[in-house]
Structures are given as structure tokens and as C-alpha cells.
Amino acid sequence: MAGSLRFPVDPHRRTQLRALALVAPLVIYIGVTFIAPLGTMLTRSVYDPVVADVLPETLELLEQWDGRTLPSEAVFAAAAAEIRRAAAARSLGQVAGRVNRVQGGLRSAVTRTARELRDIEAGPWRESMTAIDSVWADPATWHAIQVTGERFTARHYANALDLQRLPDGSLAPQPVERRIYLKLFWRTLLVSTVITLLCLILGYPVAHLIARSPTGRANWLLILVLVPFWTSLLVRTTSWIVLLQTQGVLNDLLVAIGLVSDDGRVAMVYNMTGTIVAMTHVLLPFMVLPLYSVMRGIPPTYMNAAASLGATPVQAFLRVYWPQSLPGVGAGALLVFILAIGFYITPALVGGSDGQLISNMIAYHMQTSLNWGLAAALGGVLLVGVIVLYVVYERLVGVERMGLG
């Protein structure tokens, strides 16, 4: 073969190139649809040029400001000029939104100032602006401009971790009423752990049953496990509402058999219970499948061998079967846990107010408050958390032993 080649190309190199060409579409696809958006998003969590671009001179002059008294007339003059310019260029809204997040009430103040500055021809700007709105006499306002004016900033991450930056630059916990994210992270971790355990408890016997069934029956059972995937996630989740709501099937049943009274109906949905029930259901197949694939590889003779050596069924399970199924347990648990941590639709639909998870908060900041920087930071914290868990897990179990097959 090699002799008949017209061009002296190293055949090994050719194979490499071909392999590269074959995976290229996937690599490009992942790059465009996953890596790039992820990168942009994570960039947003630490890089925010809007205020710095709109108020460059004000920010520069503020560097000489002592931080306690009112800034100099020069600062006010620059601010007035830049606010007018930004209002004309329609970029003031973004600035107002950002400073407003640091210091509430500034959005309307900034907008009104811009409107009224239109009619003022000359200074002194300090008097005019403080007359328009008293917030300009408050150092906190200028402080907010300074903070949002940093191009590279850790304030989103500080926010995501319920920290605030004091005027002297040090970090301190947010006041109690503004601490929401850490609690939400913990709740998400806790709920994900509970769901993972529930999936394991429910899925393990099912996977074992399927793995022990003859091929024909095993296929049917597997289809039953997978049937939920054939219906939309939305349908599956909302059908839980039908079942669990106060006037729902389950409550009707409980009332009918006299377990609860008609006005004592149990709230099982629009709260944490609803989130846990529905998510366990949705995520169960992700536990069953890896468990099944590992259990399928454990020959039934092992249990016979254990019995012939004198082990009781419990001993045989604990000493022989369970340790060998651990790779499947690990894979299934990791899969369910990671999916649960980022789950969005189900808690949004059935979670009510106390069944919301961190991803719902991320969605809120993406869609409603439009604070993408904070959303990105929350996502970043979540990502780091998952990676840390994964590394710990890898140390404990070893990924190469994990049966994702």
C-alpha cells in the first residue's frame, strides 16, 4: 500500500488528520454553543465596563475625593456633563440601573436629574444638582458610582456570597434582611442531596430487578423506566400539581378515606415537598440507568458463591453485591445531584415561594432584574461548587471506577 502512494505522506499523520477532521464538527459545535456562551457569561461576572465608559471623567476626578465630604465642584461639573451626554445617547438607563443596585432609589434620581439638567445652562453644578435631588449631597451616592465604575469587579461575587463592600473597601456580611443567596445555596445543596438519596432508595431495587430479569422482560422494564422521557418535562411536572394540589387527587383520596378532614387538606405542592416529589420523579431514570448498567455486569453467580460459602442473604448483599454496585451508585448519584443542583423548570412550577432553588434566582436575575453580572456570578459559584464536589468525589471513589456506561 505505502509503495503505491503518490505523495510521501506519513500514513500515521494521515490517520491523525482524518480523526481530527471527524471530530471537528462536534468540537466546533460545542465551542460555538457551549464554551463561548459560558465564557461570555463568566466574563460578565467579573467585567462590567458600562459605567466606566459612560462616566470616565467623573470617575477619574472622584479618585481625589476623600470619601466622606461632598465631592468638589469639578466632580459635579463632570458628572453633569456626562449625565447629559449619556441621556442624549440613551445609555443612561444602564448606568442608572447599575448604581441603583448598590444604592436603592438612585434610578429615579438619576433619571430626574438628567431631565432637569437639560434646562440648566451653567454652574455652579453642585448647587443645581443637590437642589434637583438631595441624593447628590449624600456621599453614598458617589460611593455607588465609584463601585459600579470599576471595569474589573468582584462585587457580583461578593453579592452572590451575601457580602457587601464597606466604604473603607473591606468586605462585610450583608445586613440580615439582604442575605438571601447563601441560604439559597445551602437549600439547593440540601434539596439536591435529599433528592439524590430518594432516587437511590427508589432506583436501586428497580435497577436490580431489571438487571436480574431475562433480556426480554428487562427490555420492557427499561422502556417503562424511560417512558417519562417521552412526555414533556412540563407535562410531567404539571401532572404532579394535579395529583398533589389541595383539591387534587391525593388530597381527595385522603379525605375520602377519612385520614384528613376536608378543611385540613395537606399542602403538598407549591412548597418544598412539591419540589422534592416532582424532581425525584423526573430525575429517577438518571439514577436507574447507570445502576442498571453496572448491575448487569455483576454475574448472579457471585450471590450463589456467597451463599455456598455460608453467607446469609443480607451478608451476601452487604459484602458482595453492594460493593460491586458502588460504581453505579457513584455515577447515578453524581448525575442526579448535578442535574438537581441546576434544575429550574420543576421548582419554578411546583416550588411555590419556599421551594425555589438557586437556579430560579439565576433565572430571575437573567430575565426580570436584568442583573446579568450577578446571575453570572451565582452561576459561577454554582459551577465552582460542583467542580469542588466532583474533585472530592473523584478522590473518594475514583472516576475511572464509575460506571457511566
Binding site: P299, A307, G310, A311, T312, V320
Partner: protein, 384 residues
């Protein structure tokens, strides 16, 4: 086990053999998995203490099923199994105290060799100290000292096999079952292991029920062999008995090699032990083994090495013409394919001794054999 207790146990084993106490007994055992076809049909088998009995049969003949019923993993459909005279129907596998070597070893892959061996001792609540001692001794028995810390996956097939044997012996069962334990090993290793298992059997005096489809292995190792076919014991005998006196065409074919001719009985001697059989124009005298009457179809079985080439005329009762079709040199013997008695695959083997050679392809010769070496067996259809 100290050396003295070792000897006591050996003595005890010898006593068992001497007394010929029945250790295992199958009585009218039937087994069906699907409720329709019987995989084991009416099995009656009695095994003496200290005996090495082999279940020999082709794949699918029900050997594993029989072991599974004895070990307690499958319930018999009908019949009774007795262990030391007691029915074991209600005894779960773990309480039967039977050591078992599985077809694919079934060593626990997540445990070290030592832990595998300690497992049966642990579940019996034996102290750690004694456990270690007995594990050590069992490893010594299969010559794997120092392998306790390895994982089964790090051992060769032969070593894994030894570990499986040691594990089946470490809790000192008096009955050990082995299901094709050497099936996965190559020839030379298999020979070595056959010797070792034999040696262990003699040293410990345990009763062994051994399963194989390899007739040579069965011949080498067993005290008695039960030849199984489609869930029926075709013949139960000592190895020589099976070879010299097969009672069915199947056994004659399965154990060693045999030329089998179809024929019709045309005369039976007054004593009833010899019959004349007409086959393809020739009339041959044969030992009447099967139950047959004049006119019945029978199968004649003649071992290739019992056939004499160009015997002195009149020396043998059975003499026929033959043509040499093919010669194969096998080292210690010469294998000759002949056209004779209407067949083209009539095989004769002769020892490779100077003077017997000189045959070439196409030679017309005479061949002969005695009545004793020609057995008339119940007729049976088979595809050759």
C-alpha cells in the same frame, strides 16, 4: 490444622472410603425449568464418602443443573436428595456446608485473595487469628503462599482457579462440587491442575462431585464416571469399565474412539452372549450387549486399536476386506483410514513399531478383530 489433626482427618477419610458410607444420594430426581421439558430425567445416583465422581456429558446435558440442585441453588421438580442420609430439601444453600468451585471461578473481584478466602470463615464467626491461620494453610494447599494481598484480577487464569479451589476448601467442607473448573485453562495448565486436584482429593479425603465435558479429564481424575446425555445417566462405571464395556453407542462414541456399524441381528448363540450381525453384506460375530432379538437393528462398536491388519488367515472370527484410504502419522501410533464394511471412515490405529509400516494409500488388505472387541449395542440413530 496441625500436622497431627491433618493426619487424623486423612485417617478419617480413609475410614469413610473403607466403610463405603453413602454421602450423597439422588433419588428419582427430575428437574424442569419451564414446567415442560425435563432437563434432568429420573436421576438416581449414590455417591460414597471420599469418592471422586465425575458427571461427564456434552454441553446442555444437565450437569450444571444437577450440581445446582445439590448445592441448593435450584429446587428439584421431583425426587429427593439425601446428604449423609438426611433429606436436604428444606436446607438453604448456606446451611448445606458444601464447597463449590464455579464454572467461572466467581471470585469476588473487589476483595483480595486473602479476603476471598477469609469470607466463609468470617460469616461463620471464626476469630481473626484462626482465620488468618486457615487462610494461610489453604493457600499453601494450592501452592499460592504469599498471594493473599493480590486482587483476583491480578492473577493468571490458573492462579485464579487455585484460589477458587482454596476458597471452596478453606471452611473444611466434606463435600466439594466443581463445575468444569478447568474449562478455561489451556492444555498444559489443565494437566497440571488435574494432578493437583487429584492430589488434594487424596490428601483431604473429601468427597468430590466433578463436572466436565472432557472425557480424558474424567478418565484421569475420577473414581467413577456418570456419563450424562439429555438429563439421563447413560452409564455409571469406573473409567476402565466405561472404555472397555460401553453399554450404549453414545458412551462408546463419547469415551475414546469407536467405529460404529449399523446392522441386523441374524443369529443369537445358545448362551445368549454372542450374536451374528449382518452389516452391508458381511456377517460379523459380536458380543451381545444390548437387549435385542433376531431381526433387530443393532449398532456394532469396534475400537480402532483392537483391529489387526493383515492377520493370519482364520485367526480372527471377524475378517473383512479393506482398502487403505489414508494414513496419518501420530508419533507413537499410526492412524489408518480404511474403506471397509461399506464405510469409508473405518479407523484402525496401530502402534508405531518397525514392521507394521509398509502400508501405502490404495493397498488392499484384510483386517480382523475378535468377538470380544466387537460389541452389539442397542441401535440408535446418529449422524456420522
Amino acid at each position: 490444622m496441625t500436622e497431627t489433626s491433618d493426619r487424623i482427618e486423612q485417617d478419617a477419610a480413609r475410614d469413610f472410603t473403607g466403610s463405603r458410607r453413602t454421602h450423597v444420594e439422588f433419588r428419582g430426581i427430575k428437574k424442569s425449568y419451564d414446567g415442560q421439558t425435563l432437563v434432568v430425567k429420573d436421576l438416581d445416583l449414590s455417591i460414597r464418602a471420599g469418592e471422586f465422581v465425575t458427571l461427564l456429558g456434552p454441553s446442555g446435558s444437565g450437569k450444571t443443573t444437577i450440581l445446582m440442585m445439590l448445592a441448593g441453588f435450584q429446587p428439584p421438580t421431583a425426587g429427593e436428595i439425601l446428604l449423609d442420609g438426611n433429606p436436604i430439601h428444606d436446607l438453604p444453600a448456606r446451611k448445606r456446608g458444601i464447597g463449590m468451585v464455579f464454572q467461572n471461578y466467581a471470585l469476588f473481584p473487589h476483595m483480595s485473595v486473602g479476603a476471598n478466602l477469609a469470607f466463609p470463615l468470617e460469616v461463620r464467626g471464626i476469630r481473626a487469628e484462626e482465620r488468618r491461620e486457615r487462610v494461610e494453610r489453604a493457600l499453601g494447599l494450592v501452592r499460592l503462599e504469599g498471594f493473599a494481598d493480590r486482587r483476583p484480577g491480578q492473577l493468571s487464569g490458573g492462579q485464579q482457579q487455585r484460589v477458587a479451589i482454596a476458597r471452596a476448601l478453606v471452611f473444611e467442607p466434606s463435600l466439594v462440587l466443581m463445575d468444569e473448573p478447568l474449562g478455561a485453562l489451556d492444555r498444559s495448565l489443565r494437566d497440571e491442575m488435574q494432578y493437583e486436584i487429584r492430589h488434594i482429593h487424596q490428601a483431604l479425603g473429601v468427597t468430590i462431585v466433578y463436572v466436565t465435558h472432557d472425557q480424558q479429564e474424567a478418565m484421569v481424575m475420577s473414581d467413577r464416571i456418570a456419563v450424562l446425555r439429555d438429563g439421563i445417566i447413560e452409564q455409571l462405571a469406573v473409567p476402565e469399565g466405561l472404555y472397555e464395556e460401553p453399554e450404549s453407542a453414545f458412551v462408546a462414541r463419547f469415551i475414546g474412539e469407536s467405529n460404529q456399524l449399523r446392522g441386523r441381528v441374524c443369529a443369537i448363540s445358545e448362551e445368549g452372549d454372542v450374536c451374528d450381525v449382518e452389516t452391508d453384506g458381511e456377517v460379523l460375530s459380536a458380543l451381545k450387549v444390548g437387549r435385542c432379538q433376531v431381526g433387530d437393528q443393532v449398532t456394532l462398536s469396534i475400537r480402532p486399536e483392537r483391529i489387526k491388519i493383515n492377520p493370519a488367515a482364520g485367526r480372527y472370527t471377524n475378517e473383512v476386506d479393506a482398502v487403505v484410504e489414508d494414513l496419518t502419522f501420530l508419533g507413537e501410533q499410526l492412524r489408518i483410514r480404511l474403506a471397509a464394511c461399506g464405510r469409508e471412515d473405518f479407523i484402525a490405529t496401530i502402534p508405531n513399531i518397525v514392521g507394521h509400516g509398509g502400508l501405502v494409500k490404495g493397498d488392499s488388505i484384510r483386517i480382523g478383530w475378535t468377538v470380544i472387541d466387537c460389541r452389539a449395542l442397542n441401535h440408535e440413530e446418529f449422524g456420522l
